[in-house]
């Protein structure tokens, strides 16, 4: 990117191997602050593996990941366990939705805000002993409800997450991620399983999220309409290696990318 020093997240030479298989090979990339950046590639290109490295589920064999918060402090997040990565300000969603199914929508969001909760568990054991902790609990509930309403899920607040419609579950997962008060949001195929109208709404929604919550967003997506419509910059992975990066227009024209997606014949047609 143009300004090397204004990154929110930087991967430097990240390599992950599973036995003999190289899932991600020497990946170096930058996500600028307040950017909406796409990470695309055919199935098995290593996109989700890259996400799992960033969020602490995999430890890279080589390379490191750096995160810069709003305060400008740079911290190396490679090697941190997932919950510490979240505490540092990165939140993510999953390709296959992973909500807490038996909990209601509002409880799902409240669970997200636990990471920023100051009151400890024992403060709620005996009534009236820690009024501060009870007040915080009420605040968390009120904030969760407000967040649900902001994402158009207010009507579902008391519904178990597993019985929500599909699109609402996707949005609830984002709401839950936002409840952790992130500075950086990773979306793993947010438009998967959505119809064209729903994905068009999603585009607007992702942009408004960035502005409203002051976020940097990195998203994995298969739906090219969504990628081209929302991303300001795109990185393309194929078989674990970075094959191209650039603005949506550059990527659309790039023969390497067309080849990776559609095969050699299509690229030369």
């Amino acid at each position: 990117m143009s300004n090397e020093n204004d990154f929110a997240l930087r991967l430097d030479g990240v390599t992950i191997q599973f036995g003999g298989l190289v899932a991600v090979n020497d990946l170096t990339m930058n996500v600028p602050r307040k950017g909406i950046i796409g990470l695309i590639g055919p199935n098995g290109a290593g996109k989700t593996s890259a996400f799992n490295v960033i969020t602490g589920f995999y430890k890279p064999n080589k390379g490191y990941v750096e995160f810069r918060g709003r305060d400008g402090a740079v911290s190396r997040i490679t090697g941190l366990p997932p919950h510490r990565v979240c505490q540092a300000g990165l939140a993510r969603t999953f390709q296959n939705i992973r909500l807490f199914g038996s909990e209601t929508a509002i409880q799902n969001v409240m669970i997200g805000s636990y990471v920023r909760q100051r009151g400890r568990w024992w403060m709620n054991l005996v009534p009236f002993t820690f009024p501060g902790a009870s007040r915080e609990e009420e605040e968390i509930r009120a904030n969760a409800l407000a967040l649900l309403e902001r994402l158009g899920l207010g009507a579902y607040a008391e519904t178990p997450a597993s019985s929500l419609p599909y699109g609402a579950q996707r949005r609830l997962e984002i709401a839950r991620a936002l409840a952790t008060k992130p500075e950086f949001l990773l979306l793993d195929e947010p438009a998967a399983g959505m119809n064209p109208q729903e994905s068009a709404e999603l585009l607007k929604f992702i942009r408004s999220l960035r502005d409203e919550f002051d976020l940097s967003i990195l998203l994995i997506e298969h739906d090219m309409k969504v990628v081209m419509g929302v991303c300001e910059y795109i990185w393309v992975l194929d078989q674990g290696t970075l094959i191209a990066d650039g603005s949506p227009e550059d990527i659309r024209m790039n023969p390497k990318v067309v080849e990776a997606y559609l095969g050699k014949e299509a690229a030369h047609a």
Partner: protein, 353 residues
């Protein structure tokens, strides 16, 4: 009830709870004068089993950790409490295999303090065992905790200077009166309910349902699991101490796997993850275990004479447990909780018919 707003409803529910708790307390206070001692003891045992069931439910139902070690934690609690409240003179007479260690002989504490000490001791062992063992999941965890409870039992049998070995402890002062047991149950129900209704409760269920997603939400899932396990062990220790005080005699054979097994039945029959379910389960299982004693006596049907078979009621119980698992896996209450709104709504529906 539709005319009431939520604040009024809360007030009404609290009033109903306090009123019925007071009514129950009066009944329990009067019970010993009107009911024979055997029945009083069973009613008392219901409360203790409810405490134990609730604590196991915290680990298994709410925390999702399959633990078969509860009798071990009960044993720790029972011995700690008994050693603290038996007088030195009594102890002097009791230890005949090996001389008692002097510091064990002089340890003394009032009953309530001994209950807390029992819980703390069990919780301490809970932390100790959970840190290596909770890295395991599912069936492995069950096997590891089962092994732990056997280790505890064998240690108690062999640490004669401290525990009086296989002879056990006799003449424990019977402090576990009806009001005491039900008081402990009430305190525990209140604490567990408040805990599980707070956001921490949401987090505990989240860790049970999807550990990966919980980690992503910034939750240190291992810590939460250790904490919940430890709290459950605390309950197990207190329950074991009360049990010792009710029966007034404890020995290592009391805390075999069958003890854990009946607790497991209480939890599964009542409903995994339901606090009130554990109480319902305790009432059912405790009364049935007593009532079913007749199958172990010799029975004469016409000319057919069946000799008494010891252990027969456990056979019947196993069949019942299998039936519950096949036909109603979620137990009586499922994951639901008893609530006044639920009861009154149902009563209203019944009235409208």
């Amino acid at each position: 009830m539709s005319g009431l707003n939520s604040g009024d409803k809360k007030l009404r529910n609290n009033a109903l709870t306090i009123f019925s708790a007071a009514a129950l307390a009066v009944c329990l206070w009067l019970a010993p004068t009107f009911i024979d001692a055997y029945k009083v003891r069973i009613i008392n045992l219901i409360a203790i089993n409810a405490i134990l069931g609730l604590s196991l439910n915290l680990i298994y139902g709410m925390g999702g950790m399959f633990s078969l070690g509860h009798s071990g934690f009960m044993a720790i609690g029972a011995y700690v409490s008994a050693i603290l409240i038996i007088t030195p003179d009594q102890k002097q007479l009791m230890w005949i295999l090996d001389p008692i260690s002097p510091w064990v002989m002089n340890l003394q504490a009032p009953f309530l303090l001994s209950l807390i000490a029992a819980g703390v001791a069990a919780a301490f062992f809970g932390v100790l065992i959970s840190i290596p063992v909770l890295r395991l999941g599912g069936d492995y965890l069950g096997i590891a905790t089962l092994g732990f409870s056997e280790i505890i039992r064998i240690l108690i049998t062999n640490l004669t200077p401290i525990t009086n070995g296989p002879l056990g402890l006799k003449g424990i002062p019977p402090h576990a009166s009806l009001l005491m047991s039900y008081g402990c149950l009430a305190v525990m129900l209140l604490c567990v309910t408040r805990l599980m209704r707070s956001n921490f409760g949401n987090v505990v269920r989240a860790v049970r349902d999807d550990e990966v997603a919980a980690k992503t939400m910034g939750i240190d899932t291992f810590r939460i699991r250790v904490l919940v396990f430890t709290l459950g062990c605390f309950g197990g220790g207190v329950g074991g101490a009360l049990m010792g005080n009710l029966i007034t005699t404890i020995d290592p054979k009391m805390f075999m796997i069958t003890q854990t097994y009946s607790l497991l039945m209480i939890v599964v029959v009542g409903g995994l993850g339901s606090m009130t379910g554990s109480v319902v389960g305790a009432i059912l299982i405790t009364t049935m275990l007593e009532w079913l004693r007749f199958v172990e006596n010799p029975i004469t049907i016409g000319s057919l004479n069946i000799p008494g078979i010891p252990g027969m009621r456990m056979v019947i119980f196993s069949v019942l447990l299998i039936a519950v698992i096949i036909f109603r896996r979620e137990g009586i209450m499922g994951m639901r909780e008893f609530s006044w709104g639920w009861l009154l709504r149902d009563a209203k529906k019944g009235g409208a018919k």
